[in-house]
C-alpha cells in the first residue's frame, strides 16, 4: 500500500514538475504568470495524438514533433499577445488577463476541432505491470518516469552549460544588467518561451499515455504547475522541481484520508496556505519577499 502510494506520487509529481519547470523557465524571463502555458500542454498532447493516430508516425517522432510544435505555439502566443503589451509596459495583472484570454481561445479552438469527447492515445495493448514489493508499476509509467527525468537532466545541462542557458540565467537574475553586457532580451524571451513550451508539450504527451485527452486537461495542469511553483518559490528552478514532487505526494497523501474528488481542493488549499503564510515559497529567500 505504502509502496503504491509512493510510486503514484512520484509519477504524478514528475508530470507536475515538468509543467512547473516550463512555467518557471518562462516566468524567470518575463516575470508574470503565463497561464496559457496550460493550453500549450493540451496542444502538445493533441499534436502527438494527431501524428500518431492519423499519420501513423512512430511514437518517438510524434513526441519530438509535439514538443517542437508546442514550442512554436508558445512563441506565437508571446509574439501575438504579450509582445504588444510589453511595449506599453502593461502590469502583471493585465498580462495575466491576456494570458487567460489566450488560454480560453485556444482551449475552445481545440474543443471545436477535436470535439469535447475523451480521446485515447493508445500505444498498444495494455501490458501487465511489474511488481515492486507490493506495488505495481506499468511499462507506460516507467516510460513517463524515464522520459521526464531525462528531460530534467537535459534541461539542467542546457541551463548550466550552454551559452544561451547562461544568458537566460543572467536575464533571470537582473535583466537590466544582462542587457548592459550585450545580451539581447528579445532573443532570451524567445528562447525561454521555446524551451518552456517544449517542456509543457512533452508533459502533455506523457500524461495522455497514462490518462486520456480532453480539451480542458490543460486547466488543472497549469493550476498544478503554478501551485508547484508557488510551493517551491516562483522563479526558482530547484523550487519548481521540488514543488512538483511535494504536490504529488501531498495530493496522494490527502486522498488516503479524503475521497479522491477532493484532490484539487487539497492542492488549492495548499496554494492558499502558501500564498498567505509563505508566498515566496520554500526555496525563496528574503530578497524574493520583495517581489510578492
Amino acid at each position: 500500500m505504502l509502496e503504491q502510494f509512493i510510486i503514484n506520487a512520484i509519477i504524478v509529481g514528475s508530470i507536475y514538475a515538468l509543467i512547473a519547470l516550463g512555467f518557471t523557465i518562462i516566468y524567470r524571463t518575463v516575470k508574470f504568470f503565463h497561464f496559457a502555458h496550460g493550453v500549450v500542454y493540451t496542444a502538445g498532447a493533441y499534436f502527438a495524438y494527431t501524428f500518431f493516430t492519423f499519420i501513423h508516425l512512430p511514437f518517438a517522432l510524434c513526441f519530438l514533433l509535439a514538443m517542437l510544435l508546442a514550442a512554436v505555439l508558445g512563441i506565437a502566443i508571446d509574439k501575438l499577445v504579450y509582445s504588444p503589451l510589453r511595449i506599453f509596459k502593461a502590469s502583471n495583472f493585465v498580462l495575466l488577463l491576456a494570458s487567460f484570454g489566450a488560454f480560453i481561445f485556444l482551449q475552445n479552438l481545440i474543443g471545436l476541432i477535436f470535439g469535447n469527447q475523451i480521446l485515447v492515445l493508445n500505444l498498444g495493448p495494455v501490458e501487465e505491470g511489474y511488481k515492486i514489493f507490493s506495488a505495481v508499476i506499468t511499462p507506460v509509467q516507467i516510460l513517463i518516469l524515464v522520459v521526464s527525468i531525462l528531460l530534467m537532466i537535459l534541461l539542467w545541462i542546457f541551463i548550466q552549460k550552454t551559452k544561451i542557458g547562461k544568458a537566460m540565467r543572467a536575464v533571470a537574475d537582473d535583466s537590466l544588467a544582462a542587457s548592459v553586457v550585450g545580451i539581447n532580451p528579445d532573443k532570451i524571451i524567445l528562447a525561454s518561451f521555446a524551451l518552456g513550451s517544449a517542456l509543457a508539450g512533452a508533459a502533455g504527451v506523457l500524461i495522455s499515455l497514462e490518462t486520456n485527452l480532453t480539451p480542458v486537461m490543460g486547466f488543472s495542469a497549469i493550476l498544478k504547475g503554478i501551485i508547484a511553483s508557488v510551493i517551491g518559490g516562483v522563479g526558482s528552478i530547484p523550487g519548481a522541481l521540488a514543488g512538483g514532487f511535494i504536490l504529488g505526494f501531498a495530493e496522494n497523501l490527502g486522498i488516503a484520508f479524503l475521497p479522491s474528488e477532493w484532490k484539487d481542493f487539497i492542492s488549492f488549499a495548499i496554494l492558499i496556505v502558501f500564498l498567505l503564510v509563505r508566498p515566496y515559497g520554500i526555496f525563496g529567500t528574503k530578497t524574493d519577499k520583495e517581489t510578492v
Binding site: V81, A102, L112, N116, F265
Partner: protein, 291 residues
Amino acid sequence: MVMEYVFHILVITGIYIILTLSLNLIVGYTGLPDLGHGAFFAIGAYASSLLAINFGISPWIGLITGAFIAALAGCAIGVSSLRLKGDYFALVTFGFAFLIYEMSLNLVSVTRGPMGLPGIPQFTIFSFSFDSVFSSAILISIFVLITIFIISRIVNSPFGRVLRSIREDEIASEALGKNVAKHKLLAFITGALFAGIAGSLYAHYITFIDPSSFTVMESILILLMVIFGGMGSIAGSLVGATVLVVFPEILRFLGMPSGIAAPTRQMIYGLLLIILIIKRPQGLMGKFKLG
C-alpha cells in the same frame, strides 16, 4: 412565450449588471486585481438556498444572510491577502473561487454536488409570489436600481475619491494620510456583499442551482463585462453586462448546434479579452485604462 423569453433575458441581464457593478467597484474604481468574483455570487446563492430549503427560512432573510456571509468571506480574503502584490492577490482570489466551486461540487451531503439544489422557493411579499418572469423582472429591476444608486453614491463620495486615488497612486494616497488598507478592504467587502445579493436573487429566481453556474470561468466572464463596458464607469457596466448576456442568445438564434455554439462563444470571449486589453484597455465607456 416570446415575451417570457425576453423578460427572462432581462432578469439575467439585471443579475449580471449587479455583479458587474460590484466588481467594477473593486477592479475598476479601486484597482484591485480580483479574479474570483464568482465565489461571492456562489456563496450568496448557496447560503440563501440552503437556508430556505433546509430550515424554511424566508428568501428575504436568506438574501440578507447570504449577502452577509459573502461579505464576511470577502473580509477574510481581504484581511489576509490584500497586502500581497497584484498578481499574487489575483491568484488568491482565483484560488478561492476554485475552492468554493470544488466545495459546491464535492460537499455532496450539503450541496447535493452535481445533482444541484432543486425546489428553491421564490420571493414572496405577503401572499404575492414572484413566480412569473414578469414580476421577477420588476423585482430584479428594483434591485438593479438600488445597486446603481448605492454604487454611484459610493464612487462619487469622498470615500470613492480615495478609492480612485488608490487606483492611480497608492503611495501618494498613503502619503496624504489616507488609510489605504482600510479603504481597499471596505471596497472589496462592499463588492462581495453585492455579489452575494446577486447570488441570492439568482437562486430564488431560477429555483435550481448547481455547481456549473459557478465555475471559475464565470468570474472571468464578469471581469470581461467590466473591462468591455469600461473600468470605472457605471454606464459602462450596464452596457458591458447587457451586451455580453444578449450576445450568446444571438448565436443561439443563428441556429448553431450547441456543440459548436458553446466553444465558439468561449473563443469569442477569449479573443475579445485579448483585443480589448491590447487595443482598447479603457473599454467602451471607461476613462481609466487598464494598467
